[in-house]
């Protein structure tokens, strides 16, 4: 029973992540705006769309935690491989928290989450100066309900690509 539930959640998670991709391109502020970078086709393994949807651009965290889960770790390892294969991209890792927490604490918590992803990317050989981090705390939820099903999607770190020279 537990396994079934988990599998269902995973599928839901993937679907939501795919739906939410548009938000990475709609922003007018912040590093998520990715001016000049286009998503391209999922079928093109060097495209941003491929990175987002096949490699996986985000990892999720448990309540109040910034340690990568086994599954999250696998995603970040895949991100690292992709970044090593596609050196023309830099990335900003955006850390986020759910709404259950005070504003300042959530900013700091989001920074921890983003840093956890960055540290693993760098440990895998991605040049440190290609990866920046930023925290949005609870300012940028992608799921809106006030329930764990939404909170689980909002406790995330998203690796946002930008085309261009090393920062």
């Amino acid at each position: 029973m537990r396994h079934v539930t988990k599998a269902a959640l995973l599928v839901a998670g993937l679907t939501l992540a795919a739906c939410a991709n548009s938000d990475l391109y709609s922003g007018t502020d912040g590093p998520g705006s990715q001016s000049g970078a286009t998503a391209g086709s999922v079928d093109d393994p060097t495209s941003i769309a491929h990175f987002q949807q096949v490699v996986g651009d985000r990892v999720l965290f448990a309540v109040d935690q910034s340690t990568l889960s086994d599954e999250g770790r696998l995603t970040v390892l895949a991100q690292a491989n992709w970044l090593l294969d596609n050196p023309e991209y830099t990335a900003v890792v955006e850390g986020h928290a759910d709404e259950q927490g005070t504003r300042e604490y959530n900013l700091a918590l989001g920074a921890r989450r983003a840093s956890a992803v960055r540290q693993l990317l760098v440990a895998q050989g991605v040049s440190a100066n290609r990866i920046r981090t930023v925290s949005y705390g609870k300012e940028r939820p992608i799921e809106l309900c006030s329930a764990e099903s939404c909170y689980a999607q909002n406790r995330r770190a998203v690796t946002v690509l930008a085309a261009g020279a090393t920062g």
Binding site: D29, G30, Y105, L107, A108, A116, S135
Partner: protein, 443 residues
């Protein structure tokens, strides 16, 4: 950007003692509210429309009287006896007060006033009467200013009345800087707004092109510290309110800075800086920009606030494994944990009186605004809701304003206030949503 502060000269003149209209003995003791005694029954008062002493000042006289009445009633400590119930009218500021007429309607306090306008010059005078003692409370006062500052003049009168009857400082002639919020949760537009404490005279200090968070007044109320994402990364800025000119306070590449607050002397700023995922407290000298590290460890240290004497800082840290409150010397060093109850504690703010620390508490899925003594004792929760956070103190340390957010996909943020005893919880009257209020000193 329009001019933010009403630019008027305000004079204050003491009027001579009035002659009491009759001799009466105090029946209920002197007119006085002790706020600490837990007032349940608000004190009845009457504010007949101030006498218009010049042609054309009728409307402004009425408006001023209404703002005074709203200020006083809004505290929950006073209850207005409406004009329909009045037996007497005041047609001449200098005439003797007919105490019997005000006693008959049980108005314990009576506020009389006169207003004159000449060009854009406005003069407001008033007296406060202890009706049952049949005598004046304190001396009459006269304020001079310009007509565009009429609300401030009304607030000043109300502050004087409040102060005389409670023995406490007032808080009506004050402003609030906050984050104005519009739009859905996943596309929320945030901009800095500033308004009178009662929601009037709202103006914006920034546009909504970048997320802004948690503005904090300087001790003079003329400057505001806040966090903005205008470069894409959260950084602390200092803005001059009158000119809306701003400068970045901390712009080291690869670091985030947030949660700033001024020291009471305005010479330094304490804030959180995040480097490599770790958030610590730093103190920055405003003039030189020189930065001193105050905490050093892997835990999250944030939301610092100075004691009013500037010697200590209260902040939150998860060094024990969960968010708790700590106090340390303003120069850093060893910190003492003061929170000890169940749940998590954050956003501590030292009262301007020095006696209490207000905080946000999270326990069993609910959020509370609470207060405790500065050693952590006598914790009292004042509110409970789905999400209450970010308290700020009224200048007299008797009222707290905070953010309340409602649950769900349509959740919105609004500003609320509550007094330190937990009574008089109410939403601040304003258009649109708001969060992260910071209350100015008395102006």
């Amino acid at each position: 950007m329009t001019r933010v502060f009403a630019n008027f000269l305000m004079g204050l003149i003491l009027l001579g003692a009035a002659t009491a209209g009759g001799v009466a003995q105090a029946q209920n003791g002197p007119l006085r509210i002790e706020i600490t005694e837990g007032v349940i029954e608000p004190l009845p008062f009457a504010v007949p429309d101030f006498v218009a002493e010049t042609p054309g000042s009728n409307q402004i006289s009425k408006d001023i009287s209404r703002v005074i009445a709203e200020d006083l009633s809004g505290t929950g400590l006073f209850r207005e006896i409406p004009a329909q119930a009045h037996i007497s009218t005041i047609t001449n500021f200098a005439s003797p007060v007919q105490f019997a007429d005000w006693k008959a309607i049980n108005a314990q306090a009576l506020i009389t006033g006169g207003v004159s306008v000449s060009g854009n010059q406005l003069e407001v005078k008033f007296r406060v009467w202890d009706v049952f003692a049949g005598q004046e409370l304190g001396n009459g006062l006269r304020f001079k200013g310009t007509t565009d500052g009429w609300r401030r003049m009304a607030h000043k009168v109300a502050d004087a009345v409040y102060s005389r009857i409670t023995g406490e400082g007032g808080y009506f002639d004050s402003r609030v800087v906050f984050v104005s919020e519009t739009g859905p949760k996943n596309d929320r537009k945030k901009r800095l707004g500033i308004m009178d404490y009662d929601g009037a005279n709202l103006q914006y200090l920034t546009d909504s092109s970048a997320i802004v968070l948690a503005p904090r007044f300087s001790p003079t109320g003329k400057e505001v510290l806040y966090t903005s994402y205008e470069t894409g990364f959260p950084q602390v800025y200092l803005m001059d309110v009158a000119s809306v000119r701003r400068k970045v306070m901390s712009d080291e590449v690869g670091t985030m800075s947030f949660a700033p607050r001024f020291s009471p002397d305005g010479k330094s700023v304490v804030m959180s800086v995040t480097e490599g995922g770790n958030t610590d407290l730093y103190r920055m000298d405003v003039a030189s920009g020189q930065r001193t590290r105050l905490t050093n460890g892997p835990a999250i240290e944030t939301a610092p606030s100075f004691s009013p004497d500037g010697t200590r800082i209260v902040f939150e840290s998860d060094r024990s494994g969960s968010q708790q409150l700590y106090v340390m010397a303003a120069s850093g060093g060893e910190a003492t944990r003061i929170s000890s109850g169940q749940g998590r504690y954050g956003t501590p703010v030292w009262s301007p009186r020095g006696d209490l620390i207000a905080f946000t508490k999270q326990n069993k899925g609910r959020f509370h605004i609470g207060v405790m003594r500065t050693d952590g004792s006598e914790e009292r929760l004042l509110t409970a809701s789905f999400l209450d956070e970010g308290p700020t103190w009224a200048p007299n340390g008797r009222v707290i304003m905070f953010t309340r957010e409602t649950r769900g996909a349509d959740g919105v943020s609004a500003l609320y206030s509550v007094d330190v005893s937990g009574r008089n919880l109410k939403r601040v009257r304003m258009n649109g949503g708001g969060s992260d209020p910071s209350w100015s000193p008395l102006q």
